[in-house]
Each structure stands twice: as C-alpha cells, then as structure tokens.
C-alpha cells in the first residue's frame, strides 16, 4: 500500500500538508535553523498564493527574528523574483513559501543562499544537521530586529533583468496576441503587467486572481491546460502560456491550441540561447535527446545531471553553462538572468524567438528534431528497488548505462530511464525513441520487466 507523504523533512527543505503535518512550530524551527546557518542579517521572504501562506509567513518571521535576522517580506511574488531580489539586495539568504506544483493543501519552504541560489548539497545537509541538533542562535531583546515589507520593487527588478537579454522593441512591435493561465498563482498580477504592459501584447488572461484557489491541477502540463488551449482557440492567440503557482515553471500552447511537450519548450529556448551565446547546456537525465541534437548544431556540449532543479543549477554553475533546464517539468534556467527556473525568462525568450524568426510556434516546433516520449509510474515495494534495476540492466546488455540517478539505458536514437520518485513510493519510467512504434515497444518491454 502506498504511503501518503504528508510531511517530508529532508535535504530539499520542509514540505507537507497543512493541518497538523507542516505545523507553524516546524516551519519556525526550520526558519530559525536557516537564520542560524546564514547568520544575523537580512533574509528575504516571499510566498505563493496558497491559503497557508500568511500563517507560514508569520511562523517563518518568528523563527528568523528569534535567530536575530532582519526580514524583508516581499508578500506574494514568484519564486524566481525572490531569488533575483536576494542577490540584488545582498541579503544573507531567502525563503520562498511555496509547494510549487503540489496541490493546495501542501506548502513548503524553499531555501536560497546569499546569491539567491538553491542551497547546494553541502549547504543542505549542514542546515539539516543544524535543524536536528536544535542548537539555534537565540537573540536576546536587544538583538531582535523587525520585519519590513517591500511589496513594490521586486517585480520591476525581475523584469529589468529579463529584458536585458531580449530585443524588447522587436517584441513590442509585433503586438503578439497572448493567452495566459496564471493558475491564480504568485505570478498572477506580475504576469499581466509583464505581458500586457511591458511586452505590449494583446493579453487574454484567465486565473489571474491571487485571492482565489487554484482552478486546475497546479502543475502545468498538456492534460491540465485544457482551459488555456480553449482560450487560445477562442481568441486566435499566437501563443498561450501556463504557469505554476510560484511562477518558475512554464508550459506553452501553440497557435492551434495544442499544448507543447515541455521538452520542446526547453528545446526552443536552448535554440534561442545558443544562437546568441554558444556555450554548455545542462539538463537532467530524463530530458529529451532533442537537446543533444540542437547543441550539436552549435557545436556545444550537453551535461546530464540527476533529476532536480538544485542538481541542474549546481552543474550549470560549475560548467558556466549558457542555458539549462528540466524538460518534462517545464523549467528553463537562463543564468544570464539568474541561475533559477524562471517562467518570465522563458516567456520573453520564446516571444523574442518568434519576433526574430517571424515563425509561428507550431512552425518552430515542427523544425525541431522529432522524438517520441512516453512516461509512466510503477508502484514498487521498498527493498525491491535494487533487484528491479539490476534485472533491467542485465536484460539490456547492449545499452550504455548511467547510474547517477536510478538507471538510464541508452542506444543510438532511443533511451529509457527508471528512477524512484523522491516524494512517493513509485518508480518513474520514461522512454524516448525516434518513432512512436519504437518508443511504445521499448516502454512495453521495460514496463513488463518492472511489473513482474
């Protein structure tokens, strides 16, 4: 029987269900550990639109003040906006209160260092140890600072960073017709301003009321964006954008109302980035080989990391990559703006690509190398994981193997990747091949071997 993961305290922070699992006490303790770790000084805080955001804001404020930190509260803002602000204000660190694409009953603390980057693996494990040791800095009356709000400057700062890397005049002149589904998330107000005012598009927006609950499944995927697709068709939009609650991920819909595979969105962004600035590309193991083909066109190198934004970011920093991301989850990381997943950068790059080439989204996608991808989830019993992986590897002796995150088996023109989910007792199976038939055959074969 699959266990429900109502609370997870781990190297990626704290995530859990509100109402007894992710409690204010736990959030405050974790924040106090964070404040102890980064040291007394400014810490930036922001949140998405979840109902538990204000409650957790107070809890985190309490923990940070108790550690002697000063809090700058940005209110409801996208996660990348917080990260950019942290670096700009030279703060000690930042915290985003968001469970990203998880359902509304969840919330989480995402932690950033003084550069506005996800904690690397060393920082994460040090912080976790500190949390468990409960040896926190305890500020006395004279050392306790206050919470100040900055509800205005962060969005403009974020826009400014993005606009340095696109041709704003060219985008504005096209007066694109754009459809937006903001999932009533943290980016709601900011996206309307960015697309409607800054980029001067004809904007048709739904779900941009941050006071309302998420109207759809929060993760932006082809099957959750039917409203957006309908909006595109109804309004004849050139492109449709679907955000997640904290505005880091982006899904895209073409002018025909077809929601693109997230791997293709990343591929377009990589193409746009490498055309202007050739350099290394970093993606996770589950991202499409399309990226390899595009990088090859520009003579650039592709690095593969375990799944997880922090892993991708860490490698990008190490190799000074031009661009990176995680295909299936809909995230583009463009370090020239900031080393973080950012839907605003993605929107601007795509509109700029359309303006530059004069092509429609479907035309741009049609020009990409074609692969078929299939994915599935297989429940498994704890303790059997090693045996399953081993058997799978042995049954494909001709494949090139990569074991840095589960098992990836690779052949010319196709691959399969099996890894255990970090959040559920599930195996995630992904395959890719040049034709649908090849992909289905590989998927069925692997599925059979994993479910014996």
């Amino acid at each position: 029987m699959a266990r429900e993961h109502l609370l997870k305290v781990g190297v990626s922070g704290v995530r859990g269900v509100i109402g007894g699992f992710l409690t204010p006490g736990l959030a405050a303790s974790f924040a106090q550990a964070f404040g102890t770790y980064v040291g007394q000084g400014r810490v930036v805080l922001g949140r998405d639109t979840r109902t538990s955001g204000p409650m957790l804001t107070h809890a985190v404020n309490c923990g940070l003040l108790a550690a002697g930190c000063e809090v700058i509260d940005l209110g409801v803002v996208p996660t990348p906006t917080i990260q950019i602000y942290v670096a700009h204000r030279k703060a000690r660190g930042g915290i985003a209160l968001t469970a990203s694409h998880n359902p509304p009953e969840y919330n989480a603390l995402k932690l950033f260092n003084h550069e506005g980057l996800f904690f690397n693996q060393y920082e994460r494990s040090e912080l976790l140890d500190l949390f468990h040791q409960s040896q926190f800095t305890q500020a006395g009356n004279g050392e306790i600072r206050s919470v100040t709000s900055d509800l205005t400057t962060a969005p403009a700062l974020h826009f400014d960073r993005v606009l340095r890397h696109v041709d704003l005049g060219r985008i504005r002149r096209r007066r694109f017709r754009v459809a937006l589904d903001g999932v009533n998330g943290a980016g709601s107000a900011m996206s309307v301003e960015f697309l409607g005012t800054v980029l001067a598009t004809h904007l048709e927006a739904i779900a941009v009321d941050p006071t309302q609950v998420f109207p759809r499944i929060a993760e932006p995927r082809p099957d959750t964006l039917t409203e957006l697709a309908a909006l595109v068709r109804r309004t004849g939009a050139d492109i449709g954008f679907g955000q997640d609650p904290d505005g880091d991920r982006l899904a895209v819909c073409d002018e025909n109302g077809t929601v693109l595979d997230n791997d293709d969105v990343l591929a377009l962004a990589v193409q746009r980035a490498l055309a202007h600035t050739p350099g290394d590309v970093v993606v996770n193991l589950t991202t499409s080989a399309t990226i390899d083909d595009i990088a090859a066109q520009y003579g650039c190198k592709v690095h593969r990391t375990p799944v997880g934004e922090a892993n991708v970011v860490e490698r990008m920093q190490a190799v000074k990559a031009t661009i990176g991301g995680e295909g299936s989850s809909g995230g583009i990381i463009f370090p020239a703006v900031h080393l973080c997943r950012d839907s605003y950068t993605a929107m601007a790059l795509l509109l700029d690509l359309m303006a530059e080439t004069g092509q429609t989204v479907s035309e741009l996608v049609a020009a990409l190398p074609r692969y078929t991808r299939l994915a599935g989830k297989v429940p498994f019993e704890h303790g059997r994981l090693g045996t399953l992986m081993q058997a799978l590897a042995e049954s494909f002796p001709d494949a090139q193997t990569n074991r840095t995150d589960g098992l990836k088996l690779q052949w010319e023109g196709r691959w399969l990747h099996v890894r255990s989910s970090n959040t559920e007792p599930l195996l995630r199976l992904a395959v890719e091949a040049r034709t649908p038939e090849q992909a289905q055959a590989l998927f069925d074969d692997a599925w059979r071997r994993l479910t014996v």
Binding site: G19, P54, H58, F136
Partner: protein
C-alpha cells in the same frame, strides 16, 4: 535553578533567547488556540519590548493555524487588550508583556472571553494541552485571518472618559514616569484628546532600553520620580510598569508612597459608594485595609499571594458583592472596569479622590492610621518549611491564624506572614504593626527562619 523560563498557571515567562524561545511561544500559543472555542476572534496586544516582534509573529502563526481570526491591537497596555476582548465579544486574548520584569524578559498572558485572566482550572487545562502537545490545527482551507487595528487606545480612552470626569482633574499638575512603556502612548493621547496636561518622563518608546527597572516598588519611586515633584510643583506623581497594569505614586512633597497604599487609597474612595462590599486583598497586604473597611462598613477578604488567587476569588463572588480587588504591588481591579488590573484607571481614581477631598495627597495619606511594615527575604535552602511553620504556629498560639499561603498570624494591632515565594527560591518574611515598628517580632521570626535554613 534556572529562572530564565517559567511555565505555570500564570502563563509563559522568561528571558528571551536565554530561556524563552520561539518554540515555546509557538507551542504555548497553539495550546491556547486548541483551548479556545472556535468561532469568535482572539485579541492580541504587546508591550514595546523588541522581543515582542518575534513573539507576535509566533503567536499569530499558531493561532491562525488553529483556525482563529485575530485582531491585533499593536503596542498597547495589557488593560487595553482586556477591554478589547470584552468590547469585541472575543473568544479570548493574549498580551505579550513581561510587565514589571526587566527589558530582557517577556511573557504570554492569557485571557478568557470576559477579558479576565484564566482562573486556575482553566489555566490548568491550558497547561495540560501544552504538555500533551496534541494541538487542534485547522485544515488548509479553514485557517484564520488577521486584522490589524490602530484605534484600540482611542476606544479604551472613550471607556475611561465615560467613568471618569477627565475635565475635573485637568487643573491638577501631574507628573508621570512611563518607564518607556505602553503608558506613554496612552497618556500622550489623553493629553491630545482631553487636554490632560500630564507631564511625561521616560516617555520614549523604543523597546530596546528602559530608563530604570520597570517595577513599581517604593524604592524606584524614591529614586526616579519623587525628586521631581517639588521642582515641577506637581500635585501628584505616578509611575507605571511596561504594560501599565501596575502603578506607584509620589506625593506633592516629593515623598515616594509605598505601592501598598494604592489599594487602601482606592478602597477609601470607592467604598462610600458601595457600603458593605468586599475588598479582596492578599495575606501580605497592609492591615490599613481593615481600618479603611471599618470606616465604611466594608469587609476585607484575604486570599493567598499572587494574581491567580485573586482571580479565583473574583470568580467565586458575584461582581456586585465586590468593591475592589488587588495586590500590594499596585495592581488593582475595579468593578467599573469589569475587574481588569489597570494602572491608568487606578491613577485616575486617585486623582479624582484628590479633587473630591480638595486636599493635597500628603494630607489625605496623613489621615490614615500609620502602619509600619518590615520585609525580608531569606534564601530557601531547607526542605523543612512545614516544620518551620509548625514551630512558628506553636510559638504564637494566641493570634488569629491563616494557613492558606504559608503562615499568617494576626493580632488586633499587628500581624506577620511567612511564606515561600512562587517565583524565586526565597522565604518572604513580613511583619506589620500600627504606630510603631514590630522590630522584636520581626527579629524573632527572622531568627527562627534562618535557623531552619
């Protein structure tokens, strides 16, 4: 013994960072959120201590998580919180204030639906919930909402203005030592709104520093306030603690008046209008109370020392049976204010008395029989306190005995009280006598107490 943290029936109290941490605050507030009935808002206020910022955030988080709506009054006196609970028909409230403790302390004080401190049974239930740590958190779509208000002090002053004729006291020249606490905000506003003309000292409110220890003892008054009285030609001087629930005073001749005198003064002014009613006071308070009560046909009910005993006594009488309740520390509750310890209300009542009598404060005080009180603290080292009390009881077989809090024995002209402190590891020895010092009695007591320790 680590005195930096104390969790008891009176709530949570400690030195912030050293004993009192964010975790304590969150858990205690969650216990209160679990204890309170859902449905009505909870009132929150705090004194100016900087640590109040941190504690406020923790209290907000836990109460919101338990599904309670909160009305935050900001920096106010504790009585303002209590009044708001009554006025807004709230489920209860929390005052973040360590009152008369030094600036590095802070505390959570809990109030029920009437704005009165939790009684011992209620406080016991709250403590049990805290210790069990099984809190009733609301699901994600039923969390509370926060409202911040800025009009709490004005609404409180409207209430004071209905009970006291503020125009009448305007001719008096009054100096107030605010001790950098919440009273500064209230009195400044009274000057603006009612032209009270209070001369305020130590009125800067930054929560970081205080001009002196914020307690209302006579020695602080002697040192800080009394020397200003004659130079400023003041009719009366008052000194408040950080959250203005206690008050001490100085007369127009520059004498610090014992905090013990607040209760008899108020009894003398309130009893004529409420003959035969009760004065609730503790076993260590001056016998002058009996003298004053006798003048007006009132009666004194002696209860154990500490706020909790007074609160419990209040809840076992009907409000109309009681004229006044309070302690020798200058903390007094009046029925006009539905029994809230309120230093500012006490000050206004005393100013009214001065106007009513048409006499300077020193003359009013001189009109009372003179009681001489001697107090000492002996470090508590012996585990044999019951045996000590037995011995003292046998030594003085002729007096009227009360064993409800240590040992008190009273004779017509003198009394003594020996008890163990609830807050510190000491034995308190107090003896009082009319007209002259009870030196011999006091020395005998000290001698016996020391021999056992």
């Amino acid at each position: 013994m680590n005195k930096a943290l104390r969790i008891s029936h009176v709530g949570l109290r400690g030195i912030v960072g050293q004993g009192l941490t964010a975790t304590h605050v969150l858990e205690f507030a969650a216990a209160f959120g679990t204890f309170l009935e859902p449905g009505r808002p909870v009132i929150l206020g705090r004194d100016p201590r900087l640590s109040g910022h941190m504690i406020r955030e923790g209290v907000l988080a836990s109460l919101l998580a338990c599904g309670h709506d909160i009305i935050d009054l900001g920096v106010v006196s504790t009585p303002v919180v209590q009044h708001a609970i009554q006025r807004l028909d709230a489920a209860g409230g929390i005052a973040i204030s360590a009152s008369h403790n030094t600036i590095d302390w802070n505390a959570l004080r809990f109030f029920g639906p009437s704005g009165i401190y939790l009684n011992t049974a209620e406080a016991g239930e709250l403590l049990d919930i805290y210790h069990l740590r099984r809190f009733r958190f609301a699901p994600w779509d039923q969390l509370g909402k926060l409202t911040v208000t800025t009009d709490a002090i004005d609404t409180y002053l409207d209430g004071l203005a209905r009970v006291f004729d503020l125009a009448r006291i305007r001719p008096l020249r009054v100096v107030v030592d605010c001790c950098n606490g919440a009273s500064a905000l209230i009195l400044r506003r009274m000057n603006e709104r009612f032209g009270c003309g209070f001369i305020l000292i130590n009125e800067r409110v930054d929560g970081r520093t205080v001009a002196h220890t914020p307690n209302t003892s006579a020695s602080i008054v002697e040192l800080q306030l009394a020397p200003l009285m004659q130079p400023l030609q003041a009719d009366a001087g008052f000194l408040f603690d950080m959250d203005a629930d206690r008050v001490a005073l100085a007369d127009e001749q520059g004498r610090g008046i014992s905090e013990e005198m607040v209760l008899p003064l108020l009894a003398d002014s309130l009893l004529p209008a409420s003959p035969g009613k009760l004065i609730i006071a503790n076993l260590s308070s001056t016998a002058l109370l009996e003298d004053v009560a006798a003048r007006h046909g009132g009666r004194v009910l002696r209860v154990p020392v500490g706020r909790q005993a007074a609160i419990d006594a209040l809840s076992s009488y009907r409000p109309e049976q009681i004229a006044l309740a309070g302690e020798g520390t200058g903390a007094v509750m009046m029925p006009q204010f539905r029994f809230v310890y309120d230093g500012i209300a006490s000050m206004l009542a005393i100013l009214h008395t001065i106007c009513d009598r048409g006499q300077p404060l020193s003359r009013i005080l001189a009109g009372y029989p003179r009681h001489h009180i001697l107090k000492a603290e002996v470090p508590l080292t012996s585990p044999h306190i019951p045996a000590l009390l037995e011995e003292l009881q046998e030594l003085f077989p002729d007096g009227e005995m009360d064993r409800s809090d240590g040992l008190r024995i009273a004779w017509p002209d003198r009394w003594f009280h020996v008890r163990v402190s609830q807050t510190e590891p000491i034995i308190r020895v107090i003896a009082e006598q009319r007209d002259s010092e009870p030196r011999e009695l006091f020395e005998t007591l000290l001698d016996r107490v020391r021999r056992w320790n």
